[in-house]
Amino acid sequence: MEESVIIADIRQFIETNILAGGVELTPDTNLQQAGIDSFSTVEIILFLERNFNTPVPDDKLLPENFQTLRSLARLVRELSATN
């Protein structure tokens, strides 16, 4: 799956379920600075597992993987390739 498609999916989930309206989210926005906290990170992980059918192992739960939409998309692609 293309990185841009994955980014669009994750972005739609975050904008609909986690962030307030009006918070701008680009592929390279720092998610923590946008307001994503630890609880929201769990919600994003559950979405990745559900939507892309890719369990996220403990060793991939690293801050750098959850920094931006782009890093999340890369994580999904990496996990999809190894599954």
Binding site: I18, L19, G21, V23, G35, S38, F39, V42, E43, L46
Partner: protein, 435 residues
């Protein structure tokens, strides 16, 4: 100035705090009053600060409202009286720098009053000052007070007041009763399973009313806080240090209960902020739901095991949308008369709501360096005394330094026991001989 709403209906979480308020008064611990303390190196003029606070439309609203029950099966609501009572403002001279007078800490903000926020200014002999904002938790949760401080800072900087749309809760969606009722059984079933007896509590075996409550502040340096963060990562905390903090508290309390031969697992409700992220508001109202953690004895021996157990439970509950379901349940319960609501909540646990209480403001105050233009050296939260259980840990990070304020009753946790508990907690957090 934004138009202030005449009527604000209490949220489900607000009404749960009404139940806690009733419970607190039954046990003589007073209302659920929280305090935030800003310690400043400067001498502060009371008149100027008082005038600045009263210029806030939110403060004005908080000082001129009264509670209505809503009648049989109606929802309780706040009515803004339109009055012009200013914020109650008290000044103290106190000899012990950095500490607060007992008269201040013991002052209540009961529901029969028409103001739910107060300010104290404590002057110390070295010309330093503490600004103390006290508020009743029925109106504002921890995130709410953080936004109230932001709002006051914005006013001080000359920015226009934010609109009532973001300061107050938005209009509610129409209730979907069939969904509410289905959800109620699911949440009830989960909570009954999660809190099944026996549950150990610091108050186990203590049946009477505690005669007094105190607070004890535990402070860490910036270097120690960085080390605690490393310990959290080493213990496997994947979603920030919060569950590591909770694990350390649980193990420290468990060690104390072992010494007292009080067996049984722990049950700990942890607040979950239901606001959308990245937004300002609502300031007024509690939007907090809860995650409920159960820790068995064999999960309390090693920190990585405790952290892993908590993370698994958090993920499972969020997968089941338990915080949202719990919020829905609380919204429904608003329609039940308060006495019946209290009976329903109280009958199951026979008054034991939790093994101990824990909350964390996360990074909300980490970068707070001014309060209405006044430079701030330290920020501390004083949690309200709650019995049972009679022991509350409140974590706060300010300028990268962690502090923990512990509200306790010496009747339940005697001073010597508390010092042992704090020593264990420090060891666990800092990773020195914890296991």
């Amino acid at each position: 100035m934004p138009a202030l709403p005449r009527k604000v209906i209490l949220s489900g979480s607000d009404c749960f705090h009404l139940v806690l308020d009733k419970h607190a008064h039954k046990y003589g611990t007073g209302s659920n009053v929280m305090r935030i303390v800003f310690q400043s190196q400067e001498k502060i003029a009371a008149q100027q600060l008082s005038a600045q606070l009263n210029a806030s439309p939110l403060v004005q609203w908080l000082c001129n409202i009264r509670l209505h029950s809503g009648g049989l099966f109606g929802r309780p609501y706040w009515e803004y009286t339109g009055g012009n009572q200013p914020i109650p403002f008290y000044e103290h001279q106190y000899g012990q720098a950095g500490e607060l007078p007992a008269t201040l800490l013991q002052r209540d903000l009961p529901l029969r009053q028409q103001h739910f926020i107060e300010c104290d200014l404590v002057h110390y002999p070295d010309d330093t000052t503490a600004i103390v904002i006290s508020w009743n938790h029925i109106l504002l949760d921890g995130r709410g007070i953080g936004m109230l401080i932001q709002h006051l800072n914005e006013l001080h900087e000359g920015q226009p007041a934010r609109s009532a749309d973001v300061l107050f809760p938005p209009p509610e969606k129409k209730a979907n009763w069939p969904a509410y009722i289905r959800n109620m059984y699911r949440v009830k079933s989960f909570i009954e399973k999660s809190s099944r007896a026996p549950i150990a509590s610091v108050a186990s075996g203590y049946g009477k009313e505690p005669s007094q409550f105190h607070t004890q502040l535990v402070q860490f340096s910036v270097e120690e806080t960085a080390r605690i963060q490393q310990q959290a990562t080493a213990a496997g905390a994947r979603f920030g240090p919060n569950l590591f903090y909770l694990s350390c508290c649980a193990q420290a309390v468990r060690a104390r209960l072992d010494e007292k031969n009080i067996p049984g697992p722990f049950w700990i409700p942890i607040p979950y902020d239901g606001r959308l992220r990245g937004s300002f508001g609502p300031v007024i109202t509690n939007t907090v739901a809860f995650l409920f953690y159960r820790l068995e004895r064999d999960q309390l021996h090693q920190l990585p095991t405790t952290v892993a157990a908590l993370q698994q439970q958090m993920t499972d509950q969020m997968r089941d949308k338990m915080p949202q379901r719990y919020s829905m349940l609380l919204s429904m319960m608003r329609h039940i008369p308060l006495n019946l609501y209290y009976f329903l909540v109280n009958r199951r646990g026979k008054g034991a709501f939790a093994s101990f209480l824990y909350s964390s403001t996360g990074d909300s105050f980490n970068k707070t360096d001014r309060f209405m233009g006044i430079p701030v050296e330290h920020v501390t939260i004083y949690p309200s005394p709650t019995f049972p259980p009679g022991l509350t840990f409140s974590f706060l990070k300010h300028r990268e330094a962690l502090n923990i304020n512990i509200a306790y009753s010496p009747d339940i946790v005697p001073q010597a026991d508390l010092q042992l508990l704090i020593a264990r907690l420090r060891q666990m957090l800092l990773g020195s001989g914890s296991e």
